[in-house]
């Protein structure tokens, strides 16, 4: 018998029921969405919890709402659904590009945005794309709904700002509007590879000048991070070769670790190159992701 067969499962029919279960220590369980992180962890020997609360398919977590200036994406929305949505691609192209690189098709049909964010791996591919939007995670509990800026959502290695009684409901993300976005990931191969480094950016240009720059990277720190020093340097600058070179150098100030996937040196170098790539892409008229 496989280990997961011993676990007790709850299938709350609605979010309200799930929140009630999570509110009480006695009924609280480990939230399970698509299981593409958790099932693998349990298969590889991580002790599974006794109690599972399955939130896969909960209608309240599966909404995509597009308003004038923002997009609300439910935590239960799969990577496949994001990657295929022309509307999301128009307003949040870095996010849809990131979703399309998570594992391969079979992972994208089950893996969810909320699961990727809550798993809080520094290598989670959607995190940098979420970060550059300047948006919020929407958290629900019996006590009500609150919003946490994404820049404060990942609080430490594999830690997020949600309390144990909270469920991530959705992500509220400002549209890119006139800005240009880009997402690039470096892994051992194009599919099914955990990122060595990945970078998302959202840049607003006006008349050859950078009005504002948002740049985020993953796999170079305990959490996904914004490169604030680079962003501040770029604001108001003209896109010249010396400016790009300086931005690349500033980006290399990250402090990654060496692990089985890559070395710290390579990651520093690649972070710089990805920032250069994002800036050079702004010079061309080509598609933004």
């Amino acid at each position: 018998m496989k280990i997961t067969e011993k676990m007790k499962f709850e299938f709350p029919p609605t979010l309200a029921v799930a929140l009630r279960m999570q509110a009480n220590q006695k009924t609280r369980g480990k939230l399970l969405a698509g299981g593409t992180d958790l099932m693998v962890q349990w298969a590889s020997g991580v002790t599974p919890p006794n109690r599972i609360i399955s939130i896969w398919g909960l209608p309240e977590l599966n909404l995509i709402e597009i308003s004038r200036s923002e997009v609300l994406i439910g935590a239960g929305v799969t990577h496949a659904r994001m990657a295929r949505s022309p509307e999301l691609k128009r307003h949040l192209p870095a996010l849809t590009a990131a979703a399309a690189t998570v594992g391969a098709t079979q992972i994208q049909t089950r893996g969810t945005l909320g699961g990727n964010a809550a798993n809080a791996s520094p290598a989670g591919d959607t995190a940098p794309a979420l970060l550059v939007t300047g948006g919020w995670a929407v958290l629900a509990s019996l006590a009500g709904v609150r919003e946490v800026p994404l820049t404060e959502f990942w609080t430490g290695y594999r830690q997020i700002a949600a309390r144990p009684d909270e469920i991530i409901l959705a992500f509220r993300l400002p549209k890119k509007n006139k800005a240009r976005e880009r997402f690039r990931k470096i892994g051992a191969r194009q599919a099914q590879a955990i990122s060595k480094v990945m970078c998302a950016s959202r840049m607003l240009m006006d008349d050859g000048r950078i009005v504002s720059a948002a740049i985020a990277v993953g796999s170079v720190a305990p959490t996904p991070i914004r490169l604030s020093a680079v962003e501040e340097y770029l604001a108001g600058k003209k896109l010249t070769n010396p400016v790009i070179a300086k931005a690349e150098a500033l980006a290399r100030a990250v402090e990654p670790i060496s692990d089985i996937r890559s070395t710290a040196d390579y990651r520093r170098w690649a972070t710089g190159r990805l920032v250069r790539d994002a800036l050079e892409a702004l010079k061309t008229k080509s598609r933004s992701t």
Partner: protein, 160 residues
């Protein structure tokens, strides 16, 4: 753990099952139903050997807790696909292109190719490579598999 009861359509047939909700879909297919075409290799979602379609979407059944699949879920395995016209077209193309060596990865490859072709009957090579990116093959080097899916696409029936 107490069992749950589910009624799914598996390869077109209504099937009623009782199982612990954390049981992997792959174990239900292979061990409970004898549908051994789906293979287990990595058991961790990496290789695609266990790929089946759930509501027409390809999933890896080795990391899918089956209790999450509600009543009425439509499941298609290689055993169902090989009875379909498009499934046979794909199999024939694999044979003609010499795309099969040991064969262990092939059921998953055919399922992934089927999932692609029912949505996109005229895929680009890039789309084929992307659709099969989650399926590993230790033997063929992929070239002939990609050729086979290309050949199958030229023979797709007009009507989807």
């Amino acid at each position: 753990m107490s069992n749950v009861q589910r009624t799914w359509t598996i390869n077109g047939k209504q099937t009623k099952l009782r199982f612990p909700p954390g049981r992997r879909l792959l174990d239900i297919l292979r061990d409970d139903l004898g549908l051994t075409g789906s293979k287990e290799s990595c058991g961790e979602g990496e290789c695609g050997a266990c790929t089946v379609l759930v509501n027409k979407e390809p999933v890896v059944s080795c990391i899918l807790p089956a209790g999450q699949l509600v009543n009425g879920t439509d499941i298609l395995t290689i055993e169902g696909i090989e009875k379909k016209r498009i499934g046979r077209v794909i199999q024939q193309a694999f044979l003609e292109c010499g795309a099969v060596q040991c064969g262990f990865c092939i059921p998953g490859m055919v399922v992934a190719a089927y999932a692609l072709l029912i949505k996109n009957p005229k895929p680009s090579v890039r789309a084929i490579r992307e659709a099969l990116a989650g399926n590993l093959c230790r033997c063929t080097g992929y070239t002939k598999i990609i050729q086979a899916v290309k050949l199958a696409a030229t023979r797709m029936p007009q009507r989807k």
